[in-house]
């Protein structure tokens, strides 16, 4: 490196020496009066190429010596001694002056170069700063957009590109209003100007819901933080944009869950109210008939006493049934067996087999659609649901001369619908909602606790579906179970006959 740097210097000095020598030889041939000394200035122009001031000093001295030698040994002329001396001295002065000028120039150049290096360093530093700023802005997970005083976009980071579906080249130079929904656009420039009047770090649109506009015209809810940024005495606003779609959805979900909890709570209160009423009722009967029994016995009315004892027994039985039904209803939500694909036609056939005695007892004919859509569900509960529905059909739908039960299923729009229908006397529409609630009964003559349909409704509800009643006096009763289509089992897997054992599994 050093050699490379020095070698051109020595080359230049060598050339300078050669030129000097040649000039000396010429000088020596020319008569004394002619001023050749000034030609030595050329040498200085060569030496200056080394850019070393010392070289110029040495060269000036050496050339002065050569001028003097040339003057002393060149052929004598007629010129006067004084003129020759003056010529020579003048030449030396010129050489020295030129050398001095060259040295000054070199120093000035060096100084300038120093300044340039400094300037370059400063420039580099500021470029690094800017780059770092851009890197930080780029790496932030919020969308960042900077605008100038006129509202033009000057900077966009990657997240903002993603949020708004624009590339930064498309956005830079555009007014910020392109990212604002039409309905807020007109008022925005004034709001923007007011921010520039009193710039401070703050959230945009306090308390208001803010929306941003994507390229495709869709909107998304945002939260925007505004930060004034001063760059070279010019004020910009750097806005940080957070897409709060997820947060808002979560919020809505929480609110929905809260509402559901409230309604569950209300349902629970209603449940406790009804249970306490329905449990108290047989107790009143028990106590009442026990008292009556005592009276009848003391009066010697044995037949009446026997009658009281029967009522007591029946009431105890009803109370037991009620308690086990309440437990069953509570289990529908608590005890969950793993859902599995179920061939519903087979399941209903099994239930009817279990209820054969009761069905035959009322002479009810059974018609089960053989290819109902298979369902993914808790097999034991679904069996219980059909058992309750078919049990109800036997209890309430057997008034027709030829009682019949039809169970069918179909896929309709986005749901699966199962239908359990009888041809009994039917239920007036005003009671349809009521009968799905626990302990609600329309006919107190028929044995039951009013929980069967509540269990059905609860199970279907837990599976994301709903229960409909389709019935009118004289038209029979159909209970419709709507399940979401997502519960449709793939037709390939139809575990078949083991449902019998599965249903009896505790």
């Amino acid at each position: 490196m050093i050699e490379k740097a020095t070698s051109p210097r020595w080359t230049k000095l060598g050339i300078a020496a050669l030129v000097s020598l040649a000039l000396l030889l010429i000088d020596l041939q020319i008569p004394q009066g002619v001023v050749v000394g000034a030609a030595y200035v050329v040498v200085l122009f060569i030496v200056v190429g080394t850019r070393v001031p010392r070289d110029l000093v040495v060269a000036a001295i050496a050339l002065s010596v050569l001028i003097w030698i040339g003057g002393a040994f060149s052929p004598r002329s007629h010129a006067e001694e004084g003129v020759i001396l003056a010529n020579r001295t003048l030449s030396m002065l010129i050489v020295c002056l030129v050398a001095w000028l060259k040295i000054r120039r070199l120093k000035l150049v060096a100084q300038l170069e120093g300044h340039q290096v400094e300037l370059e360093a400063t420039l580099r530093e500021s470029t690094e700063h800017e780059q770092r700023f851009r890197q930080i802005v780029e790496s932030v997970t919020n969308g960042m957009i900077m605008i100038d005083r006129s509202g033009r976009i000057t900077l966009v980071n990657a997240e903002a590109e993603r949020q708004f579906q624009y590339s930064r080249h498309e956005l830079i130079g555009q007014p910020i209003e392109v990212l604002i929904p039409q309905r807020y656009r007109s008022e925005h420039p004034a709001q923007r100007d007011s921010f520039f009047v009193d710039p401070s770090v703050r959230a945009m649109g306090r308390g208001r819901e803010l929306f941003a506009l994507r390229r495709d015209g869709s909107e998304f809810p945002v939260e925007i933080g505004l930060n004034p940024v001063r760059i070279q005495d010019e004020l910009f606003v750097l806005s940080s944009i957070v897409d709060i779609t997820e947060r808002r959805d979560a919020q809505q979900k929480i609110e929905a869950m809260n509402a559901e909890l409230l309604s569950k709570n209300e349902e629970m209160q209603q449940f406790v109210y009804t249970v306490s009423h329905d449990l108290k009722s047989p107790l009143v009967t028990l106590e009442g008939f026990a008292g009556l029994l005592r009276e009848e016995l003391s009066d010697g009315n044995l037949d009446e006493a026997l009658h009281c004892a029967e009522r007591i027994e029946r009431s105890t039985g009803r109370m037991g049934q009620l308690i086990s039904d309440v437990l069953e209803l509570s289990r529908v939500g608590l005890v969950r067996n793993d859902p599995e694909p179920i061939n519903v036609s087979d399941l209903v056939a099994d239930v009817c087999l279990d209820l054969k005695e009761r069905l035959d007892g009322v002479g009810m004919s059974v018609n089960i659609q053989p290819d109902m859509p298979p369902l993914v569900a808790d097999r034991i509960r679904l069996g219980q649901v059909f058992e309750n529905l078919i049990g109800n059909a036997v209890k309430y739908g057997s008034s027709a001369p030829q009682p019949s039960l039809t169970v069918s299923g179909m896929q309709r729009n986005s749901e699966i619908v199962y239908r359990v229908a009888d041809n009994g006397e039917g239920i007036p529409p005003q009671y349809h909602e009521q009968i799905l609630r626990p302990f609600e009964r329309l006919d107190s003559d028929v044995e039951g606790t009013g929980i069967g349909l509540a269990i059905v409704s609860r199970f279907v509800g837990l599976n994301g579906g709903r229960v409909d009643v389709d019935s009118a006096p004289g038209r029979g009763t159909a209970i419709l179970l709507h399940f979401p289509l997502s519960l449709l089992a793939r037709p390939t897997s139809q575990p078949n006959r083991h449902c019998d054992t599965a249903r009896k599994d505790p």
Partner: protein, 147 residues
């Protein structure tokens, strides 16, 4: 003193309770007759029968349960109070429900009395004896002839 026979309409879906109430009323000192219906709709039908075939006669007092099939006791009460011809009919609620909401609603609907079925037979019997005596002998209604 010669007493008129007091006519009760008992609206009660529970057969056992109905038997108990009827028995206690009939065995009380006040002579009475009890007509029973099983639900709210039947109660209103009974009360709104055409006057000419009033057999059995129009009741003096209604004994009403709250929790009834088809139409609740409170709805029956509301209908009675909204009906010009039935508005002054004394209605006594006799129920197992001691819930605030039921009591509040019943009083809003100007129930004449709200009674919770006692657990013990002796209390049950005494309560119904008081009911028949109170409504049969002591209570005076608008438009009645002076005793």
């Amino acid at each position: 003193m010669e007493q008129a026979i007091i006519q009760f309409l008992l609206v009660e879906d529970d057969d056992d309770h109905a038997t108990l109430i009827e028995r206690c009323l009939v065995r009380s000192k006040t002579p009475c007759q009890v007509e029973r219906v099983r639900d709210g709709v039947a109660a209103l039908e009974f009360l709104r029968r055409p006057a000419d075939d009033s057999e059995p006669p129009v009741p003096n007092v209604v004994i009403l349960d709250v929790k009834l099939p088809r139409m609740s006791g409170l709805e029956v009460l509301e209908q009675i109070r909204a009906d010009a011809s039935l508005r002054h009919l004394p209605v006594v609620i006799l129920t197992t429900s001691d819930a605030d909401c039921d009591r509040n609603r019943a009083y809003e609907l100007q129930v004449n009395s709200y009674l919770v079925k006692p657990m013990h037979y002796a209390q049950f019997r005494d309560l119904l004896a008081s009911v028949s005596e109170y409504w049969g002998c002591w209570n005076r209604l608008p438009g009645e002839s002076a005793k």
